[in-house]
Symmetry: D2
Subunit: 251 residues, 4 copies
């Protein structure tokens, strides 16, 4: 049984993590902490893996403390910069377990979204045309989504690597309907009440189409990815810092 | 048996019409004419209904001649303006059959597209959100499609009639991914090799979505609509000029 | 302001209704009752419309009591038979407001599902082929869904009324993949973790396809339909018993 | 320039191949042969790669002759058994170029279909639920399609390899709507006028869905795969017999 503590346990994501850990046969819930609680209560005597879902302003501090406590950490909080990641790597090197500490940070724990992004990059070189449509709830303030931009960049890079030219497009007159062009790839953002987070990647050749779509209906969609990361850290994950759930998928 | 003549019989659409008439149990192919042929060979002794699929520059002249010949006409050629339509009405009034001549003109003969447009207008008042995505082959020069603009206007009008306000959209930063706003409705245009002509209308409320999609895979998709129009003209269509296939659908 | 009381207020659906009424600008929440509470506390002095979401075994009794109390009722509980509906009609006739009492019962309050069903019936006569795919969570015990069966019957009836024959199907060998044939229409049921309740109706002609899809992502999807019914009963709904949300849609 | 000859050049597929070769910048059309033509006219002096699209009853003989002529062969004809493949391998070993002869046989040249199948196998282990829907024109005599059966087997094997149990399904009553169960995976077949060959693979976890869909709209959809195979045989394809287009994709 993997002993799992949760930091940010009362938060929107953290409460889902608590429920998911309680529902997993191979895990037991250890400590559940929230803002104001003392993180040094967590150590290797009571915890194998910590799941940290808080806010960007406190997450780095939390992770550095947990590294000093010698426990492995799965981080779901967003807002990580290269500079912050460097601080994590340095803390691991100077911490109590420089040779076997494991920290995992992911911008997206939805397995469907991570797979869609990966498959899109793999497929890109085999099609003349490619476009990305992302669809979200209307409360989202940025468009297009970071995931869609990431997917578009991945497709563009794969096309370049394969020597493909620009996507075919004879449009002469347009009032904006052709969307945002990200690295040569047209990206469209739909905002619709009732939706959560969705992405559809369309590829076309003469006579054929390939469509890859990921739907995240609610926050529960991140839990299989979180549990997968916990198991990997308790198992055969590489030591040190790992960024991105695709590193833990066997693809 | 309805005797059907085809004008523009060797053209891309006309050749499909010839095949469709030959394949219809209740029709027989009469004359097939093309550029340079004498349209006055067509009259009521040999033809009940003419199908005219040519080019905008000659279509009006063809239709006026056919009205003078006293035959009913289904017109698939595009490019009709209010002025041209007025000339057709005048020609009917001054022609040999002012009281029972029938002329039918349609911008779109794809039944699926006409139905999708109609259903979208009906559904619009019941949803907070609505967006339109049209998808076409990359050789299309205009974006978005005329059909998508028509659908967006219909949705917008239905929303206004029902007293609905603007669609919810909290987007603060966007580089163009939210598409073209037509009368308050966001319209997106995808261009993908392998596609022909497709439209998807998305409606959303809290917790629910309604999607209506029309796919036109090839020119054959117009034939059921053309045959329906021929049967209507040979049957109970109203006399005079009728514009739009929705007039012949029982909705 | 319409005064709305909720019976079954602590139930899965009832608690959504309480929230929806609280969120509606034109309604105010009156009484919220649950199992064991005295329904005769509800009367015209405190309530315009009652929303009743309980269980089939008690719903008829509740409705009869509420009719005797003289309040209008929207019923979301399922399990209504012709016999039970007759008892409701009789209670209205013998109640305190025989000439202006309004009672509304609906098997499905999801507007998207009701519209999809209605549009499918309208479209059916114009296509050679039609099939229905319903998709639900894997805990559902019956397949296909009642809604899918209803849709298939509606399509079949529309085809018969229009003189259409059987759908084309040259399948010679099949191990069950062609689904259940309901009144000549093939119906497929998908069961997938993560889904809630979804239905897709596919229509095809040579070269074209029309797809109508309704997604109900969660119970909140029923609230727009419930609020619509409340407004109709407080407004211009016909007196007596009305069954089915399509009666309140302007189609 | 790769010199390409086509055997079965007047056939439904062969005529598309002729057009595709003529449209490729890096290929030139050499000989075009059909039934009754002498295959020994093809040799290394005039041809680098032959594309053979005929019928199962003559394909093996053609391939053996072409191997004896010393030219590399791309075979699109179906109906290959293990026994026939063994004969091809033997012919290569005993032919004029045992060490560098290349023969390629593929059951499906649609890149989108091959990728969808491959991605489905990769994704399978990460989802609780998986189902397959294939959709074809109504003239198809077998259901489900061979491709859908292949995909279902691949998903089932991947689930077993990962230690996953059965897909969740609480269905108690069903009249056939749940489809055909292939190795534990439910497979549904839709037959709709207007469609050609399509496959959709649905994966589900709590709160999320991944959908992979391949559409083949017409025979032209096979040409990018055929040209890819020709280029591979003229390039770095392994010597000997290769079966399946996935071997030529960089995945």
């Amino acid at each position: 049984m993997v002993k799992v503590s949760v930091v940010g346990a009362k938060g929107r994501m953290g409460s889902h993590v608590v429920a998911a850990v309680n529902g997993a046969d191979d895990m037991e819930l250890a400590l559940t902490l929230d803002a104001g609680d003392d993180l040094t209560r967590i150590d290797r005597s009571n915890t194998d893996v910590v799941v940290e879902f808080t806010v960007p302003s406190v997450s780095l501090g939390n992770v550095l403390t947990l590294i000093a406590q010698g426990v492995d950490v799965v981080v779901g909080t967003t807002g990580w910069t290269d500079e912050k990641l460097a601080q994590v790597r340095e803390a691991i090197a100077n911490g109590p377990r420089p040779s076997d500490q494991k920290v995992f940070i992911a911008p997206n724990f939805a397995i469907s979204a991570v797979l869609a992004d990966y498959f899109a990059t793999k497929a890109a070189r085999y099609f003349e045309s490619a476009e990305v449509i992302e669809l979200h709830h209307p409360n989202k303030v940025d468009a297009p989504s970071g995931t869609a931009i990431h997917t578009a960049h991945g497709i563009a890079q794969a096309r370049k690597d394969a020597g493909l030219g620009e996507v075919p497009d004879n449009t002469e007159t347009d009032g904006g309907s052709r969307g945002q062009v990200v690295d040569g790839i047209h990206v469209h953002a739909v905002r619709l009440r009732g939706l959560n987070a969705h992405e559809e990647v369309l590829f076309g050749n003469a006579g054929e189409q390939l469509t890859i779509r990921a739907d995240s209906f609610d926050r529960g969609s991140f839990m299989p990815g979180v549990l997968l990361a916990v198991r990997k850290l308790a198992g055969d994950a590489p030591t040190g810092l790992t960024v991105g759930l695709d590193n833990f998928l066997d693809l």
